[in-house]
Amino acid sequence: MGDMAMVTQLGKLILLMLVLPILTGGFFCTRKNEMTRGNDRLIYMWVSGQFVLWTAFWIICVYGIFQEWFFLDVAYTFEMVSVTLAIMGGICDLCGQVRDKRKGLHLFQFSKEKKSHWIFWILFAGILLFQLIQAVRMTYADGDDAYYVAVSTIAVNSDTMYHKLPYTGGTTSVDIRHGLAPFPIWIAYLSAISGIRAVSVAHVAAPLMLIPMTYMIFYLLGKKLFAGKEQRIPLFLIFTELLVLFGDYSFYTVENFMIARNRQGKAALGSIVIPMLFMLMSVLMSKLEERKKCGLAFWGLLTCVMASGCLCSVMGAVLCCMLVGVAGVCAAVAYRRWLVLIPLVLCCVPCGICAALYMFKA
């Protein structure tokens, strides 16, 4: 393959994994949302935009699977939808900037940081870079890849979704449990649009996106936990990284899934969706404490995160509802704000639909 072709493929992948989500995240740059002010802006836009795109993909893909669409129909439909969402998000953000007289994309603002904190940030970046290098350099032999990665490869090469046996290649009917959580088809979509083989997207490109995304969510969580004491965030992130690196104390830990099996939907559920729910619950609780309203953007994003949980795994429907339910009831009791449970229940609707489809179609 020529260098030019490779550069084009990588460019497309960056567009799909970085540029489109960031632009889509413009929907959440509202005046009420303090997370999109200052140095969190770009990170928040990337993370939240990706959840919106995952939600759109989940809806289109599950519909396509039930209607027995060809894979490329799903891929091109989603491509059109994602570009439209990105343009609309970009316009929303631009309008917000003009309205609020904000200036450009605020990246990290370290000017107020002490020198020692810079060292912590560099250390954090260094450990993250090490993990990314390892993600390319090392491989983890997981038997489940024989199913998930093969599903992606089949979708790209045969233009079908879940109609071929991934292990052997024979024909089959849709397995509802996997059809409702089509994360491997999202990998196939990245492969089809970028032109890079699905196996490389799954094993190399996806970790390069998903591992940093996890830490960016932990960064946002850190911002909420250490509000007003932001200088503590880099130390928090360094210890998070260390606990992840030494988190292989059993085969089942979320840290093992995050580093070793990140191309699988269940890993994204544990290391991206669930931490994001913790972050959003933290935002909700600070709003309850300040007796402020969360705003439509917040509830929209929470719904998207719940739907993304379903894209990752059917189990995601249960886990997301369970977490939001437990945290919501605890918050309602602690702050004596029972009405907050109504929008929380409404946010669980995508998971409810997923669970109902699973029970009635299985």
Binding site: H203, K229, G247, T253, E255, A327
Partner: protein, 254 residues
Amino acid sequence: MSRSVMMFQDYMGTGLIMAWFLLSLVYLFLRENKKQTRILFIYVPVVILLLFFNPVFAQKLSEYLGDEIYYRILWLVPVTPVLAYTIVHICVSLKGKFRMFFVLGAVCVIGLSGSYIYADRFFGKAENLYHIPESVVEICNAIESPGREIQAVFPLNMVQYVRQYSSSVRMPYGREMLMNADWNGWRDAEELCEAMEADVIDASELGQLARMTYCTYIILPQNKKIVGNLSSENYVKYAEIQGYCIYKDTLSNH
């Protein structure tokens, strides 16, 4: 002992990280003042753990999800953020050189209590940007036929990689043989698998079974002992790649 307890034991490994986590919960219960942090990092994990160990809840959810993935409820227990937060919380409460000693001590404790992920026995150096063995890549490239699907039988150590790389290569059996599960009724190929994995290959038996399962290609390790000759079953040596011999069915029109 209940199934939940056994799952929890499997999940926590040596149990040291989980022990530090439980101590962190106690510490935060005593020292943390922020209400929202108390809710998220103390009450929510405790309620989740109580639900996890609740036999009625466990039974109902296992019915819905299946027993083998029930442990994933433990993913809702934020072990890593709680520990990291507690370490920072303690760290800032210390002054001077005690702070540095504590940080270094915490790093050592994490290193000793946990298990380094890249030392996991399933991790290895990637041979290519596909992250599958180079031998699989080269064999698939050699036997692929443009626009057509072909059937090939591989040694068990290769089956999990083949269709990750190429969906045009079909196999009479795949990973289900390793799992010993009756996935989609492909147990018919069990005899072929036994013939392939035998210490000494019976060429006549293997050739006949391979033809019965429509295999155009047979892939065998070069150092495998073979009694008889596969060519008598019309499987002739097609190529030698990365320590493996590829035999092709001469009666096949691929």
